[in-house]
């Protein structure tokens, strides 16, 4: 017989009351775990969907007198005289502190050419990056497969009567139109997209880059931090944060996270009150027994240890069951309520947090009942004396 055996015996004897206590803690922990897991999943979902939302950082050369509009954003125009940004600069972007948060780096070389008697904006791009960045693009035809193939915006195609398979001559180089972009209401409708390296040859700007679009997500820090980091490695460039849908969604997730925190605090307080009242009731029921313990020479701290051991065991059980239920609830609810496609992650830290949180709440809420039990006067508690 040890103190822990005394605690275990009491738990076994008061199965009903302790089961209710475990249930209360389970509901509390499950609620918090569900909210946290769904919030984490939504954050992961934002990262997964980042590509679909496009770029949120724009890098252009600093000093250019001309300007042009691209994607609804007015940028410094390097359209006809590029030189301050090069492909080598792109490597520097990947050296920033938050490089792991960069999803896509899409450089562009812009130039105006005359085609069919009209001024046309030609954008040299890396199609692999551009297509990742603009997953909303719908192509009539197919994606370019060789450096000599191009994609034409729908309005440009109409103006020049271009179809998949049409050929274009730009400064003596022949490009074949692989596909026509469906109308999306952006500047892309008016642009001819060609391969970046071929554009650099045609425009005699080897390594030249007019602007760089970057898709990045930083859940731990604002996108402005990454803008500052890129600006630090590219002092010759102007780096701008674009407020895109992803940013808004991140804000929404942030609001949900704050809501989850507020609900969690309420749930924790209610859980603590349930533990407090249950343990106070249990102590009141056991006054005589505690009096006996004291008469047998148990110190006050022995009584505290017995009560807190019971609370710890019950809390750990509530934490474990609550975590499991919470994760199951998150698995079921996340796709339905939060419209997320990312998988709910079985995060060991969340399990640890659920267990330690339940333990902490259980112990803190049981401290007062334990201390009042320890302070019981043995002669009063043992009514027979």
């Amino acid at each position: 017989m040890r103190l822990i055996d005394v605690a275990l015996n009491n738990l076994a004897r008061r199965k009903g009351r302790m089961a209710l206590l475990v249930l209360g803690l389970t509901i509390g922990v499950a609620t918090v775990v569900t909210l946290v897991a769904i919030t984490e999943t939504m954050q992961a979902d934002v990262a997964v969907k980042l590509d679909e939302y496009g770029a949120n950082i724009l890098i252009v050369p600093k000093a250019n007198d001309l300007s042009l509009s691209y994607g609804g954003v007015t940028v410094a125009s390097a359209a006809f005289d590029v030189g301050q940004l090069t492909l080598a600069d792109l490597d520097l972007i990947n050296t920033i502190k938050n490089a792991r948060n960069i999803s896509v780096v899409a450089p562009k070389l812009l130039s105006a050419v005359t085609l069919g008697g009209q001024q046309v904006l030609v954008a040299g791009v890396r199609f692999s990056d551009e297509l990742r960045l603009k997953q909303w693009w719908e192509i009539d035809g197919r994606e370019p497969a060789t450096p000599d193939e191009a994609l034409a915006g729908v309005r440009l195609a109409r103006a020049l009567d271009l179809r998949p398979g049409s050929e274009l001559q730009i400064d003596g180089h022949t490009f074949r139109v692989a596909g026509i972009l469906a109308e999306n209401g952006s500047q892309d409708d008016d642009i001819l997209f060609v391969d970046l390296s071929r554009a650099q040859q045609v425009m005699t700007k080897p390594q030249g880059v007019s602007l760089v679009e970057v898709a990045a997500l930083c859940t731990e820090c604002p996108v402005e931090d990454m803008v500052d980091q890129i600006a630090a490695v590219l002092p010759q460039a102007r780096v701008t944060a674009l407020r895109q849908a992803v940013t808004l969604r991140m804000e929404t997730v942030g609001q949900l996270a704050r809501f989850a925190l507020a609900v969690s605090v309420v749930v924790v307080v209610i859980g603590a009150l349930v533990v407090l009242t249950t343990m106070l009731g249990a102590v009141a029921e056991r006054r005589q027994e505690i009096g006996l313990f004291r008469a047998l020479g148990f110190r006050q701290r022995h009584i505290v240890r017995v009560i807190l051991s019971e609370a710890a065991l019950v809390s750990l059980a509530g934490g474990m069951i609550g975590w499991l239920l919470g994760m199951v609830a998150a698995l079921v609810l996340a796709p339905r309520l939060a419209n997320v496609t990312a998988a709910v992650v079985w995060d060991p830290l969340l399990a640890l947090g659920a267990l330690s949180g339940a333990l902490l709440v259980g112990l803190l809420a049981s401290l007062y009942p334990a201390l009042s039990a320890a302070r019981l006067d043995p002669t009063t508690a043992l009514r027979s004396l």
């Binding site: 017989m1 015996n9 008469a295 047998l296 020479g297 110190r299 022995h302 004396l385």
Partner: protein, 223 residues
Amino acid sequence: MIELTNVTKTYNGRLSPVHALQGIGLKVAEGEFVAIMGPSGSGKSTLLTVLGAMNSPTEGQVVIDGIDVYCLKSERQADFRHEYVGFVFQQLQLLPYLTAQENVLLALAIARLPKAEKVARARQVLAQVGLSGKEDRLPYQLSGGEQGRVAVARAVVNQPPLLLADEPTGNLDRVTGVQVLDLLKELNAAGQTVVMVTHDQQAAAYAGRSVSILDGRIVSDQT
């Protein structure tokens, strides 16, 4: 062994203070069997709790084995109870969900002894009170006399110098009461100091000395 000097205990009553003990002076030698007698409300149970380091006197001094008990801090008083005092309660106070052996082991729960030694001691003392083979029975599976013997076994398993019994036959039939008194007598014969509170003359006859209390004062002390 025990020396009480001018011990007074006053409770705050609803209307006026209640003087449970008034100037008690008492000496009990090691190995004595003392019966403290008196009618209900005379203060005899209060005296027992004062002797058991559970009830601090309003005035006076309680010295047991040279230790001024109420000069000890609260936690040291608990240690004192554990090391020096064994209690047999009127209601026996056996925990119904523990077996006879576990009830006895409860008194050793805080002792720094290996588990095997605790169990060996509990079984030995249960054998001593005639309960061999019934160690694993729950209290309701034992007769009243057997329950009384478990209570005595729990009181002495820690080998305390002083055994205090509060109306140990109060809730038992005559035959069972006699069994428990015989057991106390046996323990006393083996050198155990016993102080027993009772209002029963026949129970008091088992003790070598009878101290009568009335209104918190000792009115007679007969050997």
